[in-house]
């Protein structure tokens, strides 16, 4: 009887090992398939021209016609502008909210409210964030309703909750003893927060910012409502219509011309690489700063 039970346990255990191995394969399949496909279709256009040239005339090669490959300089620049502008808006708000919630809110209701608002905000569909930013401009300044500025506001709405939440967590991991040490030296609360607590939390904060950027850099839906049609012209400024990598993926992949289609896959690969680099970088900064803080 005893032996029998052990035997059944063993079989159960082996069965579970096989099952969890299978589960790993199942989740790896889509990941590998996506990366493989994007690489296969995107890699051929990744060259010097891809990064430096304008979007070409739309064209499909036929006997006797060769098409100009062109490049995605404008969508690339546009994405960088959007990352910069939206971070400029979202990072101070997110950090400010987190500092208030952790360092000043105490047990106050407003402090808990910030966490709740961040949670709700992080559930807002990105297209709704786009609609919000669009309506904001339609009400207050319709001439700039389609612009980098407008799109950045939409993306910032998506970034704020991520920055707030990660920054809050990072601040909460700073030991209470550090705050007490600072207070006991007669350092004012504000200086302690900015120059000691916040600095200790910096690795977590940076990770949060990079995560927020990685999230917003791949968004196309809010851009469809807010960025207008700026892919064909060189960058004209933040109040003009613009373009971005995910937006070009949408345009290029949904039109019949071969060279645009190819560039869309190039953009997909570029975006994937960018997000991968951001994730690795956030991991790396976290490790590096953690090591530096332990004094290694």
């Amino acid at each position: 009887m005893k032996f029998d039970l052990a035997g059944r346990r063993k079989i159960f255990s082996h069965g579970m090992t096989v099952l969890s191995g299978l589960a790993i394969v199942v989740i790896m399949v889509p990941l590998v398939a996506v990366v493989y496909e994007v690489f296969l279709l995107g890699a051929p256009v990744i060259n010097g021209a891809f990064f430096t040239q304008q979007i070409p005339y739309p064209c499909t090669p036929e006997p006797g016609i060769t098409c100009h490959q062109g490049g995605v300089l404008v969508p690339l620049e546009g994405s960088l502008v959007l990352i910069g502008l939206s971070s400029l808006l979202a990072v101070p708000i997110g950090i400010g909210a987190a500092i208030f919630a952790v360092e000043y809110g105490g047990e106050r209701r407003s402090a808990r409210l910030i966490g709740m608002v961040a949670d709700v905000l992080s559930g807002v569909p990105s297209i709704v964030a786009g609609a919000f930013a669009l309506s904001l401009f339609i009400i207050y300044d319709p001439t700039q309703a389609f612009s980098y500025l407008d799109a950045s506001i939409a993306l910032a709405v998506l970034m704020v909750p991520i920055v707030t939440r990660t920054c809050e967590e990072a601040l909460r991991t700073v030991p209470h003893s550090v705050r007490e040490a600072a207070l006991a030296l007669g350092i004012s609360r504000w200086k302690m927060t900015v120059r000691i607590t916040f600095v200790s939390a910096l690795p977590g904060v940076i990770t949060g910012i990079l995560l927020a950027i990685a999230r917003s850099a791949g968004e196309a839906a809010p851009l469809l409502l807010t960025l207008g049609q700026g892919c064909a012209h060189p960058l004209q400024g933040i109040t003009a219509e613009g373009c971005a990598l995910p937006l070009w993926i949408f345009y290029g992949a949904t039109n019949p011309y071969q060279n645009w289609y190819n560039l869309a896959w190039g953009c997909a690969l570029l975006l994937l690489g960018l997000i991968l680099i951001l994730s690795v970088l956030s991991r790396f900064t976290l490790d590096w700063m953690a090591r530096r803080m332990r004094g290694e």
Binding site: V178, A181, L183, G186, I187, V199, M293
Partner: protein
């Protein structure tokens, strides 16, 4: 007692301290003599930490905590002063060394200057040097003041925290079981240090260790269940305790 009264640096009057509704210390009246070492002893949970955390107004920074009563520093009520000003005059060393992990040794010691008074680099260098020497740490770190504070051993970190507290040039130094995380050698170093510090500072030290209290202090206060049971010159308290409770505590019958 008369002698204490005349040269009291700090005086506690009818002090009560609370965590939420619960009272951790009750009607404490006590004086701390200028440039003397006063030890506070008593069993765990009797309110020693709470009491000394009222002396630099750190108690009120804990959630839901508040204090009632008065604490005078040179005759001036702490609870009518700006808390940051109080803490610059009354330094504190904690039970567990808590150096700023993100800063170098130098930056730890100079923190109270850099963040508060911002003297010139030259003055700061001098203050750091003096504080490190006073804390008997200079010889061990003079070649690596720019190394991370966390690269020091536990005992060195505690002396670093002492140096950091001294660099702000306080008048009173509060120490909450400063040796409890240290080995006997590091402990005796810090005890020697306390003996030297009292030439310049009023030292108030919480300790679990009665031999330590007997060795380092001029006066001793014995607390039990949030109340001050007995207070007097250390020798009297240990050799001729007036209270039954004190006697049973120091003879090791409880606690």
């Amino acid at each position: 007692m008369a002698l204490v009264n005349e040269s009291a640096k700090m005086e506690v009057q009818d002090l009560n301290a609370f965590y939420g509704p619960s009272r951790a210390i009750q009607d404490i009246n006590l004086q701390f003599a200028d440039r003397k070492v006063t030890a506070i002893i008593g069993p765990s949970g009797c309110g020693k930490s709470t009491l000394i955390r009222c002396l630099n107004r750190l108690h009120e920074t804990a959630p839901h905590a508040h204090a009632e009563g008065s604490v005078f520093l040179d005759g001036e009520d702490l609870y009518r002063m700006d808390p940051t000003a109080v803490r610059r005059r009354v330094g504190m060393v904690f039970q567990k060394p808590n150096p700023f992990a993100t800063m170098s040794i130098y930056n730890n010691v100079s923190a109270p200057l850099r963040f508060n008074t911002r003297p010139s680099r030259e003055k700061m260098d001098q203050a750091v040097l003096r504080a490190l020497k006073q804390a008997a740490l200079w010889d061990e770190v003079k070649d690596r003041v720019d190394a991370a504070a966390t690269s020091l051993s536990g005992g060195q970190q505690q002396r670093l925290c002492i140096a950091r507290a001294l660099a702000g040039n306080p008048e009173v130094l509060l120490m909450d079981e400063p040796c409890s995380a240290l080995d006997p050698i590091a402990t005796s170093k810090i005890e020697e240090l306390i003996a030297q510090l009292k030439a310049e500072y009023t030292v108030i030290i919480v300790t679990h260790n009665m031999q330590q209290a007997a060795r380092v202090s001029d006066f001793t206060a014995f607390m039990y269940l949030g109340k001050l049971i007995e207070f007097g010159p250390t020798e009297d308290l240990f050799e001729r305790p007036k209270e039954k409770l004190t006697e049973s505590y120091i003879t090791g019958r409880f606690g």
